[in-house]
Assembly symmetry: C2
Homo-oligomer: 404 residues x 2
C-alpha cells in the first residue's frame, strides 16, 4: 500500500520532525510502497496535490535538515471539513484521491482542529466501507490537547519562552529607575506556554514576578495592585501574560477564524498603557509573536526526538489496523522522565481543550506554583547539534514561488 | 594604581564580554591593584557607587557565565555630562571619586553618546591637571560608530536578526493564500542591523525580498508598488524595515530622550495597515523588540571573543599612557577575516554616526547589494559553547532588589 502524510494548523518547531518520523518508519515497513505528502493539509487531499516524499527527501542529511527546520515543509491549512451527513462533496474528492493513489493510511499532523478532521474523515471512510486508516499526530505550541501528557512542539516553544524571558529579565534591569515589563505570550484559552516561563524559578530566578493565564480570573484592579506590590520590592518588575486573558471588549481585534477563534491582539499594549498611567514609570510591552513558535535554533532536543518518535509510532499503529485514533504521550515518571506513546480515541481530543490544572497556579492565581515545575522541566531539556552554514542554521527549503 | 570600568547605553549581548576583557587584562598587569566597577555607568562615578570586581567575579566559571549573559551586569545609564565650562559640579564629584579610590584609568563601555562622556571627561581631567586615563570601549547593536570597522554587540544582534528572519520566512510560507510579513528591526538613523538580515541571500534564500533602511529615501507609494511587484512573484512576501525610516509625523510616539533622540515605535504596524488596505490580503507585522539586543543564547562567538579582546586592548593602551581615545577595529581582510585593534580620537566618534555606504544598497534602494555580504558574514560566525542548566543558558546574576 501507499500512505500519505499532511500538516495542518499553525507552525511549530516540531511538525517537520513528526513528518520525518512518519517517513522513516514507512521506509522500514515492507508493506508500504510510496510515501506521499499532501500540500497544505487536507486541501492537498481534496485537490490531489501530492508529492512523492522519496523524491523530496533523498538523503539522511535532508532528514536532519528537515528536523531542524521550523514550520511545515508541505504547507498548512485552516480548513474545516463540513459535516458529511449534510455535505459529502469534499469527502468524495478525498476518496477519489485515496483510491487513485492506492493510499492505505493517512497521517494528519495537527492540533485539536485537525483532530476534528481525523475523526470526521475516519467516520466517513467507515461509512462508505473503505478501510483506509486515519491517524492523528498531535502538534501545537499551545499544549492544550486532551488525554496526551503534552504536545509535540510545546517543549521547543516553552524552551524559547523561558530562555527569552530570562534574557528580557536581564535587559529590563539595566537602568536605576523603576520599570515594568509586560511580556505577552501566545495562548488563546490555555496558559501552558505562559506558565512555562516560570521554569526560571527552578533556577533561582525570582522573575517573572507575576504570571497571568486565562485559567485564573483577571481583574484590572487586581493587576494594578499586584504590580504595585512587586514594585515595592523590585526595581524592574517583569510580568508574563497570556494573549487570551479576559479583558474588556475592543482590546481584541474581533476577527474570527473558520473555527470560531478570535484573533487576539494587543493585551500587552493595553496593560502597558494602564500601568503607565497608573504608575507614571517606564513601562514596556514585548510580544514574543511568531518567534515563540518558529525559533527552531533553540528547539528542545527532547521535543524534536519525541515528535519524530510519535510520528513513527503512528505508522506502526496504522499497520496494525488502527484508525480514528490520535497518538498521545502518557507520562510514567517525572524523574527519570519516562513517557510511553499510545493511540487514543480521536473523538475525545477533537475540538476540545485542556487547561492548566488548578494546583499549577499559586493560591492568589497570579503566578505559577512549584508543583508545575516538575511537569515543565523535562520537556525543555537538550539542544540539537544544529547544522550551520555561514553562522546560520541550515533549513530544508522548498520554493515560495507562485505557480503559473 | 586602581582602575574602574562602567557600562552605559542600551543593552547588547557583548557588553559583559568587554567587561570580562578589562577585568582579565587588569589581572595580568602588575601595576594594577583593585579593579572597580561603577554601577549605572557614569552615575556610579558621580555617586561613588562602586564594587570591587574581585569580590564579584571570583572564578573562571563566573567569567564564562558573564560572557554568556546579556545586558549590563553593573547596570547602565543614559546620563549626558554637561559642558564643564558651564557647570563642573558633577565633574568635581567624579574627581573626588577618582582620588578617593586612587583610580588611574577609567574604562567606559558604550555607544556614541558614551564616547561623548569619554571625551568631555578626558578634557576636564587634563584641564585640572589629573593624569587619569579615560578610554572608551565601543558597543552598540546599531553599528553606527565612526572610524571602527564595526562595533562589539553588532555581530550577535545581526546573527539573531538573520536567524530569526529565516525562521519567520519559513513561518510565513505555510498557507496557500498570499501574504505580506513586515519585520521591524531596530535602527534609529542607520540601517546596519536591518541590512544584516540580507546575509540570507548568501545562503541562496531570496527573502527578505525588500529591505528598507533610513539611508534610502522612503515613499509610501514606492513601498506599495514594490510589494505589489513581489506579490506577483512570491506567495509570501517578507519585508525587513528599519524602525527609523522616514514616515509621516504621528507614527513616531514623539517622546525624546536626554540626547535628543526620538523614541520610535510603530512603523511596522503602520506599514501593515497600509498594505492591508491596499491589497486586502493577510498582512502581519513583527517587531523583533529587545530580543534582537539581548538574545545571548544565539550570540556570535566572533563578536563575544572580539568584545573581550577589545576590552583587554583598552587596558593595555591605558597602561601606555593613552587617554581620550576609543578602541576601534580596523579590518585588514574579509577573507580570511582579519582585524586589528587600535585607539582612535574620541572626539571623532562622540555624538557622530556612521551610515551604510551607498554601494551596500541596490540601485533601487529597496534591498541590499551583494557587496555588503562580505562585510557582514564574518561578524556572525561561530557559536559559544553555552553553559546550560535545566535546558536554559545560565546567567551571571546580580540582585534586582530595591535597596532600603
Amino acid at each position: 500500500m501507499n500512505i500519505v502524510v499532511a500538516q495542518s494548523g499553525g507552525p511549530t518547531c516540531a511538525i517537520n520532525a513528526s513528518l520525518v518520523g512518519v517517513f522513516r518508519e514507512a521506509l522500514k515497513q515492507p508493506e508500504i510502497d510510496a510515501v506521499f505528502g499532501a500540500f497544505n493539509g487536507i486541501e492537498g487531499m481534496i485537490q490531489d496535490h501530492l508529492v512523492d516524499l522519496k523524491t523530496l527527501l533523498r538523503t539522511d542529511r535532508d532528514l536532519d535538515l528537515l528536523r531542524q527546520t521550523p514550520s511545515t515543509v508541505l504547507g498548512s491549512c485552516r480548513y474545516k471539513l463540513p459535516d458529511w451527513h449534510e455535505d459529502d462533496s469534499v469527502y468524495r474528492q478525498i476518496v477519489q484521491c485515496l483510491k487513485r493513489r492506492k493510499i492505505g493510511a493517512f497521517f494528519y499532523i495537527g492540533g485539536n482542529d485537525s483532530m476534528d478532521t481525523v475523526h470526521k474523515l475516519s467516520g466517513y471512510l467507515k461509512e462508505v466501507g473503505m478501510d483506509t486508516r486515519v491517524i492523528g499526530i498531535p502538534k501545537t505550541i499551545d499544549n492544550d490537547l486532551r488525554i496526551t501528557d503534552h504536545t509535540p512542539g510545546f517543549g521547543s516553544a516553552a524552551k524559547y519562552v523561558a530562555t527569552t524571558m530570562q534574557e528580557i529579565i536581564r535587559d529590563s534591569s539595566v537602568y536605576s529607575i523603576p520599570s515594568v515589563t509586560i511580556v505577552e505570550v501566545m495562548g488563546r484559552h490555555a496558559g501552558w506556554l505562559t506558565a512555562s516561563s516560570a521554569v526560571l524559578h527552578a533556577m533561582g530566578e525570582p522573575a517573572p514576578y507575576l504570571v497571568y493565564v486565562p485559567e485564573a480570573n483577571f481583574s484590572e484592579r487586581r493587576f494594578l495592585r499586584d504590580v504595585e506590590q512587586e514594585m515595592a520590592k523590585y526595581k524592574a518588575v517583569v510580568v508574563a501574560v497570556s494573549k487570551g486573558i479576559a479583558v474588556p471588549e475592543g482590546v481584541q481585534s474581533g476577527l474570527i477564524d473558520q473555527f470560531g477563534h478570535k484573533y487576539l491582539s494587543g493585551i500587552g499594549k493595553y496593560l502597558k498603557q494602564m500601568a503607565r498611567s497608573q504608575f507614571g514609570c517606564k513601562v514596556r510591552s514585548i510580544e514574543l509573536n511568531v518567534m515563540q513558535r518558529c525559533s527552531s535554533h533553540l528547539c528542545s532536543k527532547t521535543d524534536i526526538d519525541e515528535s519524530e518518535q510519535i510520528g513513527m509510532a503512528g505508522v506502526r499503529c496504522a499497520m496494525q489496523g488502527v484508525t480514528d485514533r490520535v497518538m498521545v504521550f502518557r507520562r510514567i515518571h517525572d524523574k527519570p522522565y519516562t513517557v510511553v506513546m499510545e493511540p487514543a480515541d480521536a473523538a475525545l481530543i477533537a475540538n476540545r481543550e485542556k487547561f492548566l490544572p488548578g494546583d499549577f497556579l499559586t493560591p492568589a492565581g497570579n503566578n505559577i506554583s512549584e508543583n508545575a515545575l516538575a511537569y515543565f522541566l523535562p520537556l525543555i531539556q537538550g539542544e540539537l547539534n544544529l547544522i550551520m552554514e555561514n553562522g546560520i542554521p541550515v533549513h530544508f527549503r522548498v520554493q515560495n514561488i507562485i505557480l503559473p
